[in-house]
Subunit: 490 residues, 2 copies
């Protein structure tokens, strides 16, 4: 056995254990009896302790030093294991434990604060979380930029400055489009009615099948928040049902099918290695978004969906396919990120990105956070935050320490824009298939150009090879202006 | 930290990991996508490797030597960890791996042999399994009896000779009762009709509730074979549905509720210690059997069930409660253990017990096994084995190396008989409650006298304290003769 073989064998086990931990998380959110929470917490803690021990095992350092890669894939495996080893080793165990304890506590306090619509008790604990995250960032950064050090967990190779430049280039056109759309004379009709859960779930399965979800390696269940979970031969999705709004269930499903399909589309040879998973959160989100938006909310697929929904629900309050297309893509003022449309979504992200960079750098204190949030929201969205639950308290991310995560959502949209332009050029008859309820040709292109590579290529190189050029916001902005210009008659 | 504290902390993690492994097994049998088998095999192998490392960790030896128990519970914890440590350490890693590999292979060959109704390919691999099990038994026995060494895994403290004496004392009365019942003039009517799955599952939930199943710490799902899985705050059951035979689903459910209730009924302070699980397979089976048979198939509960089933299925082909009671307890000739009634079940076990003792001791070769099985079956049951699938090939146990497991089923019946006599004496109005569809008073007595103790008391002492006397087959035999004598008018 060479050092590389030893490294790989050890890593296979770690990957298997990490996959088990993810499966336990799925179980907890879908099927676990509600009285089992304490037991599951102890089980998860045991797994996390074990995984942390393995990620910082001193033998890793020795194997990594001695390992001789025989291929590009070998070299990348070594690089990825080394990156995790270095990062895990830099964070003192005491800090990791304290962060786990505090964020678990903070999540409960956040949930209560949101339910009570009062941030008073939440802000002090958020401040403690922030202090620990800054400490963690300092340990990880090793003298470099604090925010970049955190970002590296979600979007390796990307920097806060790079994202800021990208977002600054997008904001004017997004703000202008938003104003034009909301001020337009032509306004799409909203869908209304009662849409029974069973029928929604049946349609969700049909939509997942339309987007090529592999039911032999997946399943769909109900959960409070939609998510996808697992990889290789077993990537499951969840959805939720609001009986007044079937789009919530259907487009959540298509979105999660995008995430799961990425994991299931990775070269099976990469299973149980660090190559066997999506390469970054931004690339992951590009897959979910291109399934959901560029394909799922396009004119072709919504035409097919209109017929399906009309049949399933015995008619809709929408006249025809064109009107339905406008309804699906209706832009309305609102405070909530997760309910935002394609036009406004990225503005929600930019707000959070700027605020969290300021929090991490120390330019902004948590005690001034509500005011900063509300002022920025009024500036970007033209409406005031009416209550804290519609402002700072709407997202759990910061409570659980996910600083650096938000921008990957907007980056995913940018990448989806670029991939969509390349995919449309390469698959000119894609809309014909989508109009028949078949996303297959698009899925196939994405599988070939993005998904199958897993972690082999770094995000930037992966996207550049797939799109044939550097990452740019132009394709997304052109697509949005074109699409919403037509719908709103601008 | 004392040595005992160290030992306990280490064991808590091991117990958590072992509970996770069991949850993965549940997932595999109920909800796992069918394409995930290879991945799950690798995940389970990683967990097993890890658990084996922990069970044989040399630090355990040091802590066990230095640990100072402060209570009876502490002493028992030390005893149980030491027992597992000694046993795990005696089996060479090479042998454990080989056994895992071979039994996994043998299970597939057994399934094929049963489907093809042909033992030719199965017997050679069974022989290999047997050789490895004899080797394992020799390592475990450390000079003692081979069969006893294997039995210790399932029924600690029990010996093959002790079981043989118990069974020999039972056989004549069981054989005589069987002949009387089958030859009786009065024969109960069989249930017939079509019983839709959804209605069966609804009734299964009602039955589980009647037996006090705690839905906040459990759930029911469909699986190929009924089983219960998990402990402490999360013990789930499965059932199956045969649309011509609702008793299969309903009594499997009550049986598994018995197993799960045992785990859920253990003192919560014992969670994550070796005290926090059922103390032996025999005691476990005593709980499932007393729920299923002595309570579930009694006159009182079947009277209640008759009304429920008549309503749910819009009438039955059975006239009244008394006839229904006879139908539920109908004794019919048959080859299959899992379909056997209370009268014949133990005879099936005794056959297997005698044959497997002879296999382990070397008195019987696998090449003579089919003949030995068939001859014994004819002798005990008066009918010939018509085909291998109805004979040797019906059970998976030996293929997967479970030698020493079968007798715990019959022992469970014996223990259930003794517990039932004590429970009836202590809870004279139990039948009144059962007639209202409420097993609560019986469950409560079992919880107090058996379940809550978990692994604290060794099996024999547990049963002796609960029943107020030594383990004896008399209460079971008296109960069977009385019950079936009445039903069959003997």
């Amino acid at each position: 056995m060479s050092a590389f073989d030893d490294l790989l064998a050890f890593q296979r086990q770690t990957e298997a254990l990490s996959s088990i931990a993810e499966r336990l998380g799925w179980d907890q959110e879908t099927v676990m009896p509600r009285g089992a929470t304490e037991q599951r917490a102890e089980e998860m803690a045991a797994m996390e302790t074990l995984l942390h021990e393995r990620r910082t095992d001193p033998r890793l350092g020795e194997w990594l030093e001695a390992a001789q890669p025989q291929s590009e894939a070998d070299a990348r495996i070594i690089e990825l294991i080394a990156r995790d080893f270095t990062r895990a080793s830099r964070v003192p165990a005491r800090l990791a434990t304290e962060l786990a304890r505090l964020t678990s506590l903070a999540q409960g306090i956040w949930a209560e604060a949101r339910a009570n619509d009062d941030p008073t008790d939440f802000l002090p604990v958020l401040d403690q979380v922030l202090m620990l995250k800054r400490e963690e960032a300092a340990a990880l950064a090793d003298g470099g930029d604090l925010y970049d050090a955190l970002l590296e967990d979600y979007e390796p190779g990307m920097t806060g400055a790079g994202l800021a430049a990208l977002f600054d280039a997008m904001r004017p056109r997004l703000v202008a489009l938003r104003e034009d759309v909301l001020g337009a004379e032509r306004q799409p009709q909203a869908l209304s009615g009662h849409f029974p859960q069973e029928t929604q779930l049946r349609l969700a399965r049909i939509c997942a099948t339309a987007f090529g979800y592999d039911w032999t390696r997946g399943r769909i269940d109900l959960a409070v928040h939609p998510f996808s979970s697992g990889r290789w031969q077993d990537s499951r999705i969840t959805t939720r049902v609001v009986e007044t709004d079937p789009f919530n269930c259907l487009y959540s499903t298509i979105h999660e099918v995008g995430h799961s399909s990425y994991e299931l589309g990775i070269d099976p040879d990469y299973a149980f290695t660090p190559l066997g998973r999506g390469v970054s959160m931004g690339v992951h989100e590009s897959q979910s978004r291109i399934y959901e938006n560029q394909m799922g909310r396009g004119r072709a697929f919504t035409g097919w969906l209109f017929k399906r929904m009309s049949d399933a629900f015995d008619g809709l309050n929408i006249a025809d396919e064109d009107a339905f297309y406008a309804t699906v893509n209706r832009v309305a003022p609102g405070h909530i990120r997760t309910e935002a449309d394609e036009v406004q979504y990225n503005l929600h992200i930019m707000l959070r990105f700027d605020l969290e960079r300021d929090l991490i750098s120390g330019r902004l204190d948590t005690e001034d956070l509500v005011e900063a949030w509300n002022a920025r929201f009024l500036k970007d969205f033209g409406i005031a935050v009416d209550r804290p639950a519609n402002g700072l308290l709407q997202d759990v991310h910061w409570a659980v320490g996910l600083f650096g995560y938000f921008p990957t959502y907007a980056l995913g949209n940018v990448l989806a824009g670029g991939l969509n332009a390349a995919m449309r050029a390469a698959v000119p008859d894609l809309d014909d298939a989508l109009a028949r309820g078949d996303a297959g040709p698009g899925v196939e292109w994405l599988r070939e150009n993005v998904q199958r590579h897993g972690g082999l290529l770094p995000p930037r190189r992966l996207i550049e090879e797939a799109t044939g050029g550097p990452i740019s916001p132009e394709p997304l902005l052109d697509y949005l202006e074109e699409k919403f210009g037509r719908i709103y008659g601008l």
